[in-house]
Amino acid sequence: MTTALAARAFMGILWRELLRFLQQRERFFAALVRPLVWLLVFAAGFRAALGVSIIPPYQTYITYETYIVPGLIGMIQLFNGMQSSLSMVYDREMGSMRVLLTAPLPRWYLLFCKLAAGAFVSVLQCYAFLLIAVLFGIPLPYVGFITVLPALVLTAFMLGAFGLLISSLIRQLENFAGVMNFVIFPVFFLSSALYPLWKMKESSLLLYQLCAANPFTHAVELVRFALYLKFNGLALAVVTGVIIVFGLGAVLGYDPRRGLIRRQTA
């Protein structure tokens, strides 16, 4: 694999992902409206009911809207990961994935390019959401817009790799809706996206433990800490570890020797 070939293939995959994203305006609209509804309707309604005490990384009392911003960023990235997964399954059913898989490049590199392109689109959406949140009066530290970038990239990779792994397991497009319900909702609700874990602990220890073990919780906390210029070592370690595990799983899933897509390509 020469550097020029690798670079041109990467740019080609990134360019195609951006083109598809820009052509699907409804997708961008839905990606922003979904968290904004949670922020402006759900959070406003729950503001009085849910008080959030001073917990790291916050140094003062915060409103519920402020609390759920990192969780909603996680939601954008989770849906984006699933969207990438859906697009891989669609490409496989429509046949266009064969163009990618027969390029003279290693399979792992092609999957990495897909992952990076998906992460790029995901991060763009997160920044659009953050800007809108600021416009609606959510107080966010401006320097946090810079410090959150590496966290956003890592979490986008984690959830993108999760999507890639799922796409290698799903055999038909029709199965996707079911998988979405069984994956997105438990992953999102069993996390610190909508409520601090100490509140969950008060109501159920088991649910608290499930939330604490959920990698999505660590993705949300990594973003939350980075947005407030703080570092969360545990969250970073979990997110990095999960990227490696899901990434290797996706590479195995798309490997023609071991892959679960073997029958589908024939």
């Binding site: 694999m1 020029a4 598809r20 429509m94 994935m97 024939a266």
Partner: protein
């Protein structure tokens, strides 16, 4: 409308480009291919003739590494596909049975995406794109969305795309499926012209006998094994028949309604 222009091929006319040696493949306990051996030579069309389920698509998937080889070997220009890295696919152009174009992108965007995946610089890709589209009569349609093209134009576009990398070998998996008779005839003539005038080796899977021309190499595949391989005329005379259709029926013991 379709007029190939001569392009020098690096391969000597008649030289072996692709060789299958005792290739075998199983889906679980079911054997899809067993001991498949034949060669594809430069400047010639090799028709892989077989009924549905004969193993043609499996063989193609092995040749382009979508499936991993389980037994035997496949050599492309002297390089073992199984033992080499993905760069071994560089001399290969592929047209799959199912369309692989991105319907939501334009003609130009589809070709540029393919060119990027194969490491072509954009200026070179645009130059080759202009040549190939001119050749298939689609020069003025670069900005059109692929979804708006008819089946015949999509097929031609896929062939033009496969030629962008200037391959030595073109793999075509039932490229005329779903096309009307005049379009099919034009495409068959164009593909034979490509082999003759550009020195390309073509491996062409089909179940339609009338796609063969005198001088083509015929490989009859049935139930995963090669029943006979040779020049079209040789296959007919060796089976004591008078047409390729009859020879095929005799060799495979079946007739699937293909045209002759």
């Amino acid at each position: 409308m379709i007029a190939p222009t001569p392009v020098r091929s690096p391969d000597a006319a008649g030289g072996s480009v692709l060789a299958f040696r005792d290739v075998g493949y199983r889906y679980g306990s079911r054997a899809a291919l067993s001991n498949v051996s034949f060669e594809v030579t430069a400047a010639r069309v090799t028709l892989l003739l077989g009924p549905n389920g004969a193993g043609k698509t499996t063989l193609f998937s092995l040749a382009c590494r979508l499936l991993a080889l389980q037994a035997g070997d496949i050599n492309l220009l002297g390089t073992s596909i199984a033992r080499s890295g993905p760069e071994a696919l560089t001399p290969l152009g592929i047209v799959f049975q199912q369309s692989t174009l991105d319907l939501d992108l334009s003609v130009r965007q589809n070709l540029r995406y393919f060119a990027a995946l194969h490491g072509l610089a954009q200026s070179e890709a645009d130059r080759r794109m202009a040549v190939e589209l001119e050749r298939i009569g689609m020069a003025g349609r670069q900005g059109e969305q692929v979804r708006a093209l008819n089946g015949g134009h999509r097929r031609r576009l896929e062939i033009a795309r496969a030629l962008l990398t200037e391959p030595s070998l073109l793999l075509l998996d039932e490229p005329t499926v779903g096309l009307d008779q005049p379009t099919r005839r034009a495409l068959v003539a164009y593909l034979h012209q490509l082999a003759r005038e550009r020195g390309l080796a073509l491996l062409w899977a089909t179940h339609l006998f009338d796609e063969a021309e005198p001088g083509d190499t015929i490989v009859v595949l049935a139930k995963g094994s090669v029943r006979m391989a040779g020049r079209c005329e040789e296959v007919i005379s060796a089976t004591g028949t008078v047409s390729l259709e009859q020879a095929f029926a005799k060799l495979t013991g079946e007739f699937d309604g293909a045209t002759g």
